[in-house]
Structure formats: structure tokens, C-alpha cells
């Protein structure tokens, strides 16, 4: 279980997180929803070690992650699929997958995992020789997810995987997220597309200007009047 307690983060003179508590139980899909600038990405970036925290703790199975280098967090089994895909455009699809396994030395297992990613995303197999920069947005997102899986993470954190993609493609990405979860990978998903995220989430948190204001199962929040109004674009029936 990934356990975040009283996490506070500030940078550039902005208090991005004001002491949040959240839990990501093993094997679940957990989502963090909220408006632009609420601190969702900051949360993920702090877990990964890209951003330093002021106070609080981030523990994974009892092991403190705060203050550890980025590569140690990854080695502990927590990988991040960054916002905006960030594939390496002048490397091939295959090279992008291989760099996802950068910390691993078990060559035979890496080959197996490449096949596993190809099974999840047959499109990547067809295009394995192509430069990642020439892929479409949806394909790049598949590659970013596949690359994230190549470290064989126990927890995969995804930052806005639906950003800038066509609705049909988004549906495909969410199906894959479910499939990955079914195969045993815990998911921490950040989304502005609250409707989609809540539908697949076991557990959900609402983040507003650096504070967690609500939590519950995906279904509970989906039915909540305040959530409906603020994030699902539905008017309250009066």
C-alpha cells in the first residue's frame, strides 16, 4: 500500500499542497480528480521524487520514499507515465520501450515484457521500428503507458492519459488501464475527465487548491451532488 500523510509542497512561492492524506491500496484503481492547478500533478511528481516536499511522508509498504532519489522510487516499484506523454521523439518505439526498462538487467525478462506490451498494444508492435515522434497522439499515449510498464511496476501512476485525445481513443486507453489493473498492477490515475476516471475507480479523492475535500468509492463520488456540479458538468435538480 502506498500511504501519503500530511504531505505539503511549495515551489515558486506557491503552496501547491497543504497537507494531504491519501491511500493507494494494492491492486486497486485509485483516482485523484480536481480542476487545473489543484495540485494533482504536484502530488504525482512529489511521489516520483521530481519535486521536494516541505513536510509529510510518503510510504510504500512501510518504506519511506520522501528524500529518496528518483531512481530509487522507480526501483521500489512505482513508475510514472508523465503528463503530455513525453515519449522520446527521435528514438524508435522499441528503443522507447527499452529505456523504460533502464534500471533492469534481466535481459530475457525484458524481452518477455516487450512481448507483453505488444500484446496489450498490438499497434506498437506494428510500428516498433518507427520514430516515436511520428506516431499519432493516441499511439504516443499507448507508448508512454507501455514504456511505464517496462519497469515492471507494482504501482503505475498516470498523469492525464486522456489529455488531447479523441473520445474513442480515450475509451481505448481506459479499457487498457482496467486490463493492466486486472493483471495485478495498482493504478493511481490523475484525470480532468472526472466522469471516465470515477467510473473505473475503486477509490477516489477530490483535490481542491492543495487540499483533499472529498473521498469515497468511484461510484459514491459519481453520485455525489457536489461532484456532479463541479466536475461532471451536470446541473443540480432543484
Amino acid at each position: 500500500m502506498l500511504k501519503i500523510q500530511n504531505l505539503a509542497v511549495a515551489y515558486g512561492g506557491i503552496q501547491a499542497l497543504r497537507g494531504i492524506d491519501m491511500e493507494v491500496p494494492d491492486g486497486k484503481i485509485v483516482t485523484l480528480i480536481g480542476a487545473n492547478g489543484a495540485g494533482k500533478s504536484t502530488t504525482l511528481r512529489t511521489i516520483s521524487g521530481l519535486v521536494k516536499a516541505q513536510a509529510g511522508s510518503i510510504q510504500y509498504n512501510g518504506e519511506e520514499l520522501l528524500g529518496k532519489p528518483i531512481s530509487s522510487v522507480l526501483a521500489a516499484g512505482i513508475a510514472q507515465v508523465p503528463e503530455g506523454r513525453r515519449v522520446f521523439p527521435d528514438m524508435t518505439v522499441l528503443e522507447n520501450l527499452k529505456i523504460g526498462a533502464y534500471l533492469r538487467t534481466d535481459k530475457a525478462e525484458i524481452e518477455k515484457d516487450i512481448e507483453w506490451v505488444y500484446e496489450l498494444f498490438p499497434r506498437l508492435k506494428e510500428r516498433h521500428w518507427q520514430l516515436a515522434g511520428t506516431l499519432s497522439g493516441g499511439e504516443q499515449q499507448m507508448l508512454a503507458v507501455g514504456r511505464g510498464l517496462m519497469s515492471r511496476p507494482k504501482v503505475l501512476m498516470m498523469d492525464e492519459p486522456s489529455l488531447g485525445l479523441a473520445p474513442l481513443v480515450v475509451q481505448g486507453i481506459f479499457d487498457i488501464i482496467r486490463e493492466i489493473n486486472r493483471q495485478g498492477v495498482t493504478i493511481l490515475l490523475i484525470e480532468q475527465n472526472a466522469n471516465m476516471a470515477l467510473k473505473i475507480a475503486d477509490l477516489a479523492y477530490v483535490l481542491e487548491t492543495g487540499t483533499i475535500t472529498m473521498s469515497g468509492t468511484g461510484a459514491e463520488l459519481l453520485a455525489d451532488e457536489k461532484v456532479k456540479e463541479a466536475y461532471l458538468g451536470k446541473k443540480r435538480n432543484k
Binding site: 528518483i70 531512481s71 510514472q80 527521435d90 529505456i99 515522434g133
Partner: protein
């Protein structure tokens, strides 16, 4: 033709020397987006180390020592002067680089007493005189371009095929995402300084063995021209730096061959201005990948 030939041979050789220095500039720029102003001075220090070690030790000890000390110097510069500024604005990094450049020159002034150090024992074999196509030259002139090309091949293979090379390519493109993949950014950056300094040390030995003295300002001109070569070829690109260096070396020597020696330096810097105006990304500047 017979008249211009020695100049062509010289040009290729000078180009090789520029290339060995230019790679150091281009590698560091590719990853840190920093023009490492101290690089020319590292080249000069390698020359000084060569003068001192060859005077007192046999070649098979002194040559490795030059390589090792220069690599340590390059590594130390990065750790002490650039690493603490990792999150600082790029301007601070550049000012730090200028500071290191002057620091090295002043230290060298202190050590040498400001006197040019004569190269008393040039590296044997490569400083023998040979005759090539009827032109008489030192063997180093022929060895330099060949060695340069061989080293470039090794370097490109290292970057294309090895894990650390993959880390370097990833870091050059996207620092943050590379880190998320587990690339240890500090070791990758150190590696670029180690490679750059190693090649500069090889370049210095080939350059100064053909030269009467090493002075504290000796790194200035070759360093600057190698920098122009790196910009001309497209800074950040290794093939660019190599091609740019050979072209500049050739052009300079051809101008000398035409009896216009006065203008050979001016040509190089005029070329820099033209490149910056007309095609700032250089010959092989970062390409934009198009969607298909």
C-alpha cells in the same frame, strides 16, 4: 595541384584536432545546454601535463597519465562548478563556466610562472618526418585525422548501443522524463565531461607534439575555433561537430595555401557570424520530427 596538396593534408589534420575538441563542446551542450567555456583551457592543461610528464617519464606512462589527469580535471570541473547550479538559471551556469576558464588560466600562470613551456620531448614516432605524395610532413599530420575518425566511430557506437549512451540520448532530449525512466542524471552528465575531456586530451597531445611551446593562452584559439566548428555543424550534434571541424580546418589551410594567411582566422569567425545569421541551427542542427 602539387602546390596545394600539402595544405589539403594539413587542413584535414587541423580539422581532426578541432573535431576532437569540438565534440566536447557539443556533447556538453547537448545535455546541459551549456557552452563550456573552460573546455579550451582543459585542452591547454592537457598540453601542460604532457610537457611535464614526458620530460620526466617514459612515454608508456606519461601518455596514460595525460589522459587520466585531464579526465579527472573535466570531471572535477563539472562536480564543483556546474553540479551545484543544476536548478539555477542557465545564465549562472554560463558565468560559472567563464569563471572556471579564468581560474584554470590563472592557476596555470602560477604554475608556469607565465612562461611558455617548451615541448622538449615530443611524442616519438608520430613526430617523425614522412613523405606523402611528394610532400614532406610529420607523421602526426596523417595520424590525427585517422585517429579522430576511429574515435568518433567508437563514440557513436557507445551512444547508439550502450545503456549509458541511451541514457545520454534520453537526457539530451528530455531531462525530466529520462529521470523518470531511472536514468541517473548526474552519472550521465559526468560521463559527457569524461568523454569530452578524454578527447580533448588526445587532441592536445596530437596538437602540441607538433608545436614548439605550450602557453597558458594556448587553449584559446583552438578552443574557440572548435567551438565555431560545433556551431557550424549544429551544436548538440556529434556528426555536425566533426564535419564542421574538418571543413573549417580545410578552409583555413586552403586560404593559407592561396597566400592569404592573414585572413584564415578572420574567415573562421566570419563563417560563425554568417551561420548564426543564415542558419542558426547549423548543418546538422536538431531536426524536427514530422508526423507521417
Amino acid at each position: 595541384m602539387q602546390g596545394i596538396l600539402p595544405y589539403l593534408i594539413n587542413g584535414v589534420s587541423v580539422g581532426g584536432q578541432y573535431a576532437l575538441i569540438a565534440i566536447g563542446y557539443t556533447l556538453v551542450y547537448g545535455i546541459l545546454r551549456l557552452i563550456n567555456f573552460a573546455h579550451g583551457d582543459v585542452f591547454m592543461v592537457a598540453g601542460l601535463i604532457m610537457v611535464y610528464t614526458t620530460a620526466s617519464m617514459p612515454m608508456y606512462i606519461s601518455i596514460p597519465l595525460v589522459l587520466i589527469f585531464t579526465v579527472i580535471l573535466g570531471f572535477a570541473i563539472e562536480r564543483l562548478a556546474y553540479k551545484p547550479l543544476r536548478t539555477a538559471p542557465r545564465m549562472s551556469l554560463m558565468i560559472s563556466a567563464i569563471g572556471v576558464s579564468y581560474l584554470i588560466q590563472n592557476l596555470a600562470f602560477y604554475l608556469t610562472g607565465g612562461l611558455p613551456q617548451p615541448v622538449k620531448t615530443p611524442i616519438p614516432w608520430i613526430s617523425d618526418t614522412v613523405t606523402l605524395f611528394g610532400a614532406s610532413t610529420k607523421r602526426v599530420t596523417v595520424v590525427t585525422p585517422l585517429l579522430t575518425v576511429a574515435l568518433v566511430f567508437v563514440l557513436v557506437a557507445l551512444i547508439k548501443k550502450t545503456k549509458i549512451g541511451m541514457g545520454m540520448r534520453a537526457a539530451a532530449k528530455d531531462f525530466e522524463t529520462a529521470q523518470l525512466m531511472g536514468v541517473k542524471i548526474n552519472s550521465v552528465i559526468s560521463m559527457t565531461f569524461v568523454i569530452g575531456s578524454f578527447l580533448a586530451a588526445v587532441g592536445a597531445m596530437l596538437y602540441f607534439t607538433n608545436y614548439p611551446t605550450v602557453a597558458i593562452t594556448s587553449g584559446g584559439m583552438p578552443g574557440l575555433k572548435a567551438f565555431v566548428a560545433a556551431v557550424f555543424g549544429g551544436i548538440g550534434s556529434i556528426p555536425g561537430a566533426v564535419v564542421g571541424a574538418f571543413l573549417i580546418g580545410l578552409c583555413e589551410e586552403i586560404i593559407k595555401g592561396l597566400g592569404q594567411s592573414t585572413f584564415s582566422d578572420a574567415f573562421t569567425f566570419a563563417l560563425l557570424i554568417i551561420v548564426l545569421c543564415v542558419k542558426p541551427t547549423g548543418l546538422f542542427g536538431e531536426k524536427v520530427t514530422d508526423k507521417v
